[in-house]
């Protein structure tokens, strides 16, 4: 059995990679993907805790996180499509005004 600490370390690394992705990218879609990486990193630590503590509660939370992530991806991508329609760009530096 792999120790719990290994899973949590992997989760921390993936979360940090997601944070770097949000900070260094200018493409709104890649920023979205980085957010998905962060959500998945947290899911991994929840599943690891759930299995090691012998309680299914963590898995239920992961189930709910997946539903929220699906809703978030749908709404976020719709917003990106609308931004691209009005500004012809999805570079986040171009989207610095609430109203044009």
């Amino acid at each position: 059995m792999v120790p719990l600490a290994y899973y949590l370390t992997l989760s921390a690394l993936l979360f940090a990679i997601g944070v770097v992705g949000v900070l260094i990218n200018r493409n709104a879609i890649v920023i979205f993907m980085s957010i998905e990486i962060m959500l998945n990193a947290v899911n991994l630590s929840l599943i690891a805790f759930s299995q090691f503590m012998g309680s299914p509660a963590g898995q239920v939370i992961v189930f709910l996180v997946m539903a929220v992530a699906a809703a978030e991806a749908a709404v976020g991508l719709a917003i990106i499509v609308v931004i691209h329609r009005t500004r012809e760009s999805i570079n986040v530096d171009d989207v610095n005004l609430m109203k044009w």
Binding site: M1, V2, P3, L4, A5, Y6, Y7, T9, L10, A12, L13, L14, F15, A16, I17, V19, V20, L23, I24, N25, N27, I29, V30, M33, S34, E36, I37, N40, N43, L44, I47, S50, Q51, F52, M53, G54, S55, P56, A57, Q59, V60, V62, F63, L64, M66, A67, V68, A70, A71, E72, A73, A74, V75, L77, A78, I80, V81, S89, I90, N91
Partner: protein
């Protein structure tokens, strides 16, 4: 044996996550994201969380990634649209801050795992992650959050329709 599989999967998921955030072309990022998500699904199987592992493949690597690829192709992005970053210092600062964040998380982890009661290897029953156990918990203890998620999904569907509709 399990440790070797874990290390292989961890390497694959970390490397492909790094490749996701360092690509110029969004389609290639999306495909590497599928690799990350799939290797995490196998990690869930390794932990014994079979239900969540299957869900990860169907919902994340399947549905959400199709949505991403569909939008990337719909927008028809030029490859050089983003070019080199204008603010060079920002990138260095981002790496530094994230390094501090990672050190902070790992330090918290080390303190948390050394103090208090150790949870390491208490039960790790394989049946915890089975669909039966998860469904029992979901429909008895967590029924209310489950119903709220259904409302959230309905609101998301309506929101997307309202957002992308041109005129009413």
């Amino acid at each position: 044996m399990t440790l070797a599989i874990f290390l292989a999967l961890a390497t694959v998921s970390v490397i492909s996550a790094i490749l996701v955030i360092s690509q110029k072309n969004s389609v290639i990022s999306a495909l590497y994201l599928v690799v990350t998500l799939a290797s995490q699904a196998v990690l869930y199987f390794l932990l014994g969380a079979t239900f969540i592992g299957v869900l990860q493949i169907i919902v994340y690597a399947g549905a959400i990634m199709v949505l991403f690829l569909f939008v990337i192709m719909l927008l028809n992005l030029k490859r050089d649209e983003f070019g080199p970053d204008k603010k060079k210092g920002q990138r260095v600062l981002a790496f530094l801050l994230t390094l501090f964040l990672a050190i902070e998380i790992l330090a918290a982890l080390k303190i948390g795992l050394s103090g208090g009661q150790a949870v390491t290897g208490v039960s790790a029953k394989l049946s915890i992650g089975s669909p039966v156990e998860v469904a029992r918990s979901l429909f008895i203890d967590y029924l209310y959050p489950f119903e709220i998620v259904s409302i959230l999904l309905l609101v998301a569907i309506l929101g997307v329709i309202v957002l992308v509709k041109k005129r009413f």
